[in-house]
């Protein structure tokens, strides 16, 4: 019986257990000391536990009920934390053209290999640009939302927003092309946003404080 520490002791603790390996009058539960007599009796522990659960019983619930009503629209009432990695969006430069120069850095960095780019020469009237992506597709079902593409981009063209609950009916809908990604940025109002580098100097975009809905 010496192995079972939680048996229901019927004798007072000082009395008969001298032969055992030290069920002493240890104090309390801090730091793994030997349990005292009141702890071994277990009833006070039960009462403490019941008080804790009762406190949780009358607390409000944490659940957000997705029942489709406006009251529980998660876009409005539940914004994830700063820096949450949701769906992608592409940014535009001041001339209104897509910032991406089709350098393939994001496609190379992506662990899931879900970015597919085809580069093309820009039309002559784009200033300071040589290439732009003719085809830029992200398969959001393969994406693991790690953010490496955002960190890898040298021109701050792609970023991850906090949008997390987009559903689709087919697999093809979730392969976003350039227009869709640009539109996503437009819709969030982040097309012209700029990201800073992390305070420790490691390249990797940290979103601006303002701008997220």
């Amino acid at each position: 019986m010496s192995a079972a520490n939680h048996g229901h002791d019927t004798q007072p603790h000082g009395a008969g257990h001298g032969a055992d390996a030290g069920h002493g009058h240890g104090h309390g539960a801090e730091g793994g000391d030997r349990p005292g007599i009141l702890e071994k009796l277990y009833i006070p522990e039960i009462v403490k536990g019941l008080g804790n659960t009762f406190k949780h019983l009358i607390q409000p619930v944490f659940t957000i009920d997705y029942d489709g009503s406006e009251r529980s629209n998660p876009q409005k009432y539940h914004t994830p934390r700063e820096g949450y990695r949701g769906e992608h969006y592409l940014k535009k430069d001041d001339d209104g053209h897509v910032k991406c120069v089709a350098c393939f850095m994001c496609a190379a960095a992506c662990p899931a290999e879900c970015i597919h780019i085809e580069a093309e020469a820009t039309p002559p009237d784009w200033k300071n640009r040589e290439r732009y992506p003719k085809r830029f597709e992200i398969d959001l079902l393969r994406c693991i939302y790690c953010g490496y593409c955002e960190e890898a981009c040298p021109v701050d063209a792609i970023a991850l927003s906090t949008v997390y609950n987009v559903v689709s009916g087919t697999r093809e809908e979730k392969v976003y092309n350039v227009d869709r990604l640009l539109a996503q940025g437009e819709q969030l109002g982040l097309s012209l946003s700029k990201h800073h580098y992390r305070p420790d100097g490691v390249p990797g975009a940290v979103p601006e404080k303002s701008g997220h809905h």
């Binding site: 079972a4 939680h6 229901h8 019927t10 019941l50 019983l57 607390q59 944490f62 029942d67």
Partner: protein
């Protein structure tokens, strides 16, 4: 055919068994809700009468978009699921015992409700008494002890007949646990019987309500409830009740994490449904027993004044007595659920240690102590009973 007698017997049967069998699905729902609230969640709230997914829409009734009291029809959905699932017996199973086991789990707790008084007597104008008790056996508590032990057979049969090692383990553990907690239960009941002086449950409740043979009217005295006479027995009885019902923390026979389902692993559809219902009915019967023995049964403070008023107020008093009894039983059930989601499960050796090394000695000590303080036998030996009966007769003769 004496229709009066038939009705007098039928009404309590309908009341007691109707109430139990209709409450059990809601207990399942309540358990899930209480569990959810303790864990800061919501619980089932989709299947309801009012709201977008209501079944009333099949009948063409529009029920709007707001979900009010959602989840109350969840037991109905559970029942439909259990009825429509396939019932099959495993290949190597013992067919007879496999089919028989759920009945043994379901019937004994129902039978235990037969002797429990659920409300005060209703005395008609011509003197016939409607007792709100299915059978006023004068061996009351012994009936409960003997019948409730049959539930262990159900667990053992289920474990053996399932042709499954883990179910067998669960069944064996269930048998051992129930037997080792029946014994302190019996010893505690002995102490309670000794302190009330009677075995019949009806007499016990009347004693707690203040009705004695010498002064046959109820005194509204909450201090005469059984819990003040036998506090240690109340605590130990509650612990044994948890063990008898296989409720956490004594959950090993059917623990869901280790043995999948224990003795009811191989059961599906209605077999599982019957085990499940049997567990909740057993919980209700233990609650009823605790309410009757320790919490005054159907008595509540203020009963005497309402009961003696006559006319419709007496009827109200009786209805309230049934309500008070229900509240006490449901308080035990809620406490049982509260403890279930608070405590971790006991290990097997810890469980047996608590039973044999902890509760049995304490129950025996309690019995000894009760015997000592009840030594001056007031109404409890035959000679004293005769003296008391003579006193009653003299009091009644004086009234006439």
């Amino acid at each position: 055919m004496d229709w009066t007698q038939f009705a007098l017997k039928l009404i309590p049967v309908l009341l007691v068994f109707g109430a139990i069998l209709n409450i059990v699905p809601f207990l399942v729902f309540l358990e899930r809700k209480v569990c959810a609230w303790i864990q800061n969640r919501v619980g089932p709230n989709r299947v309801g009468l009012l709201g977008p997914d209501s079944p009333l829409e099949i009948l063409g009734i529009k029920t709007g978009k707001v979900r009010i009291l959602g989840g109350l029809l969840q037991p109905l959905a559970d029942a439909i699921k259990l009825f429509t699932k396939e019932n099959f017996t495993p290949k190597g199973a013992d067919r007879t015992l496999f089919l028989l086991a759920p009945f043994f789990a379901l019937l004994p707790p129902l039978l235990a409700f037969v002797v429990v008084p659920v409300g005060a007597d209703f005395v008609f104008a011509d003197g016939t008494v409607l007792k709100l008790q299915v059978a006023d056996l004068n061996v009351g508590v012994l009936w409960i002890l003997s019948v409730a032990s049959f539930a262990a057979y159900g667990l053992a049969f289920g474990g053996w007949a399932s042709d499954n090692k883990f179910a067998l383990l669960g069944g064996v553990r269930a048998m051992a646990q129930m037997i080792s907690y029946e014994i302190p239960l019996g010893i505690l009941l002995l102490a309670v019987i000794m302190s009330f002086g009677t075995v019949s449950l009806r007499e016990m409740v009347l004693a707690q309500a203040g009705w004695t043979a010498v002064s046959p009217d109820f005194t509204n005295n909450i201090w005469s409830w059984g819990i003040w006479q036998q506090p240690l027995a109340f605590v130990l009885f509650t612990i044994c009740a948890f063990a008898e019902n296989n409720r956490l923390p004594f959950d090993l026979p059917e623990c869901e994490a280790e043995l999948i389902g224990g003795y009811h692993t191989e059961y599906n559809a209605m077999g599982f449904g019957m085990f499940f219902q049997g567990e909740y009915i057993a919980m209700l019967s233990m609650g009823a027993l605790i309410a009757t023995l320790f919490l005054g049964g159907w008595h509540y403070p203020g009963f005497a004044s309402l009961y003696g008023a006559g006319g419709w107020v007496t009827l109200l008093a009786i209805v309230l007595s049934f309500a008070a009894f229900s509240v006490k039983v449901m308080a035990f059930v809620f406490f049982s659920m509260w403890v279930r989601w608070t405590l971790p499960r006991f290990r097997w050796d810890q469980l047996m240690d608590i039973g044999w090394k902890g509760i049995v000695p304490l129950a025996l000590a309690n019995l000894l102590f009760t015997a000592f303080i009840n030594l001056p036998p007031e109404n409890k030996t035959p000679a004293h009973r005769q003296a008391a009966a003579a006193a009653v007769e003299s009091v009644q003769a004086e009234k006439k």
